[in-house]
């Protein structure tokens, strides 16, 4: 397990990270979300040892993370970049060897990944001649080349079309074995919702929510949807609920607890026929908005 414990980082006067603590559990994908400037990239760079923490530590299997162990991590930095004028196959082999693989093993693995990413025919092309989407595929291949023991991916899907995202997600699912913890940041909440098992929400350098996505969603007070035959405007006059929207016979409202909702349903039924009633599914964007409010 990868644990970030009490990470604090100052840039001059500015406090970029404030006592950030969370776990990345093996075999689970942990989504790392937060507004721009919340401190996601800073946290990831500290995990990878590219930036020093002002306080706090990163632990691996209970021990302090050492450079030797970290060498086996896979990293995709926010600012993409490889050698523009190097052939992509040579490039992947180089990074494989940089992580301690033998030439042969690295070559074998390179060919497999390039084939998997549909780049086999481009193997001897220079990186800069590839489209941006394909360059991004090579970048993820670099993060995966040495069969990392943990993955840290900073915005891995930004700039990809939906098909490319699917291909990359498939690849990740294939590569992420039950012993690998994966931390990835993203702005695309729908994607995080689809992919992630766990979630860490960061706001202004602080962790404001962390845990399994399902639990976080369940902890939210749900929004209910009511559709009646007639006008639902009377809901506005009731105490103990917050109306989000009323349009003709359709209304969306929040209640403090589920019991209140049942009382409202009874009232509605006493006024006439109820066509539809039930809790709306809680979207991750709501969790995010709620947490970072």
């Amino acid at each position: 397990m990868l644990r970030v414990a009490g990470l604090t980082r100052r840039f001059g006067e500015q406090l970029a990270l404030d006592d950030v603590t969370f776990d990345v559990v093996p075999g689970r994908m942990t989504g790392f979300v937060g507004a721009n400037g919340a401190g996601k990239t800073t946290t990831m760079r500290i995990i990878l040892g590219v930036l020093a923490a002002s306080a706090g530590e990163v632990r691996w299997q209970g021990e302090l993370l050492t450079p030797k162990v970290r060498q086996d991590f896979g990293y995709m930095p926010e600012e993409r970049g490889l050698y523009p004028k190097m052939k992509i196959r040579d490039q992947l082999i180089f990074f494989g060897r940089l992580h301690g693989m033998t030439q042969n093993h690295a070559a074998e693995r390179t060919d497999k990944l390039l084939g998997r990413l549909g780049l086999a025919e481009r193997a001897t092309d220079v990186l800069e001649t590839l489209s941006l989407g394909n360059q991004q595929r090579v970048q993820i291949a670099v993060a995966l080349i040495h069969q990392p023991i943990a993955l840290v991916l900073d915005e891995p899907f930004s700039g990809l079309d939906p098909l490319a995202v699917d291909a990359m997600v498939d690849l990740l699912r294939e590569e992420v074995t039950p012993e690998i913890p994966v931390l990835f940041s993203s702005h695309q909440l729908d994607l995080v919702e689809r992919l992630c098992d766990d979630l860490v929400v960061l706001s202004r350098g602080k962790v404001v929510a962390a845990g399994p996505v399902a639990e976080l969603a369940a902890s939210q007070t749900p929004t209910y949807r009511l559709v009646v035959d007639g006008d639902a405007g009377w809901l506005r006059d009731l105490p103990g609920l917050r109306v989000r929207d009323v349009a003709g016979g359709t209304a969306l409202f929040d209640v403090e607890d589920a019991g209140d909702a049942q009382q409202i349903l009874q009232q509605a039924m006493s006024r006439g026929p109820v066509l539809e009633f039930g809790p709306e599914r809680v979207a991750l964007s709501d969790v995010f908005r709620e947490a970072t409010r």
Partner: protein, 390 residues
């Protein structure tokens, strides 16, 4: 998961540095140009002197051909070549059409040398001497004297009491040449090192590199790779000049240069490594290629000032310069070649250079570590020194 941990990441970095450069068309091109310049400098003078071009002399009998061959031998090598033709008319025609430089025909009492509008004085003298020699040997054998008996007591040889290492103009040439080799190589490779560092910063690949291996080993790898390349380039150029010297029969110069070659390598490597560290820092202070102009300025000065010193300064200042680090790499090997330098001088110079190289590299590594991952704006040297470790 992995086969092993990478014990010597700098070796892999160096390897990439070398293999990338060896495939880089600009690098290959500039090496070829340098090679051509050196070869031209070695071979051209000989070509211009005509040493390698044999002049054709038209002859019509065996006697004439023997004379031409003797003249050629006396000149050393193949200065003249007999061109056998049928008769006097054909020989004169060959000279008129400039197929032959001159013609050598039997005359009333010996031979006649025929030229088109004049007889080249060198050719004339050589043929006259050869005719005399061959004629005298023939006459001598008629009275049963061997050629040795004929020449007995007429030979003059030379002896020099205080042989200087090299004649004056040659020693100037060698001094400038050695300083130039270091200057050009250090400047050329220095710019390449700075560029390769800033390219890694610009393309952000440095973030992945730094996450995989210690930043210091990135620096060592770059310095090592480029030192190997620079030495390799010099070896290739040295080999080319050897070929050139051999082709022009000037291998005698080699016997003078050879004893200093080892010293040159030591001074070169130490000076180059110190500079390579500085150039790498120049690259890591920059964030874009355009910044290199200002961040490499100190490196250029450190090279340029001693270079002009080594080339233009008189013996006194040059002697002082040959102890100053970096400057010593440019002036000491040249001095050793052209003057009688006591052994302690190069040893002391090497000791000073070694200490400063270690110091420069240590400060350089510190600056490199602290600035490599700083992007956004160009840093000054003073700013960089004030930075704290990350």
């Amino acid at each position: 998961m992995n086969d092993r941990t990478l014990d010597r990441p700098w070796l892999l970095i160096a390897e990439r540095e070398v293999s990338t450069k060896l495939r880089d068309k600009t690098f290959i091109g500039s090496t070829l140009v340098m090679l051509a310049v050196v070869l031209a400098a070695v071979i051209l003078p000989a070509l211009l002197a005509g040493g390698n071009n044999s002049d054709k002399i038209a002859v019509i009998d065996d006697g004439g051909a023997a004379v031409v061959q003797r003249a050629s031998q006396t000149q050393g090598g193949n200065a003249y070549e007999p061109l056998r033709v049928a008769d006097q008319d054909a020989a004169e025609a060959a000279v008129t059409k400039t197929d032959a430089t001159a013609a050598l025909l039997p005359g009333p009492d010996g031979y006649v040398v025929i030229g088109k509008d004049k007889v080249d004085s060198g050719v004339g003298a050589a043929l006259r001497a050869a005719v005399a020699e061959v004629g005298m040997e023939k006459n001598a054998s008629a009275v049963k004297l061997t050629p040795e008996q004929l020449r007995a007591g007429t030979q003059v040889s030379e002896k020099i009491l205080e042989p200087g290492p090299l004649p004056g103009y040659v020693s100037d040439f060698v001094n400038i040449g050695l300083a130039l080799v270091f200057y050009m190589t250090a400047l050329g490779f220095g710019m390449m090192i700075a560029q390769s560092v800033v390219q890694e910063k610009e393309s952000r690949v440095v973030e992945i590199l730094a996450a995989s291996v210690p930043i210091r080993s990135l620096l060592w790898g770059k310095v090592l790779g480029n030192t190997v390349l620079a030495l390799g380039q010099i070896v290739v150029i040295a080999a080319a000049s050897l070929v050139g010297l051999a082709a022009t029969d000037r291998l005698d110069i080699l016997s003078v240069v050879a004893p200093v070659a080892g010293w040159f390598v030591i001074f070169f490597v130490l000076g180059f490594v110190a500079l390579a560290g500085l150039w790498a820092v120049a690259g890591s202070l920059a964030t874009r290629q355009e910044d290199l102009g200002s961040t490499t300025l100190p490196g250029q000065m450190i090279l340029m000032i001693p270079f002009f010193f080594a080339v233009f300064a008189g013996p006194g200042p040059r002697e002082i310069a040959s102890f100053v680090p970096i400057a010593s790499s440019m002036s000491m090997p040249g001095r050793m070649l052209t003057e009688d330098v006591p052994l302690w001088q190069p040893l002391v110079a090497i000791a000073i250079l070694l200490v400063s190289t270690v110091l420069i590299i240590r400060v350089g590594a510190r600056l490199y570590e602290r600035t490599l991952l700083k992007t956004g704006h160009r840093l000054g040297y003073r700013q960089a020194l004030a930075l704290k470790a990350e």
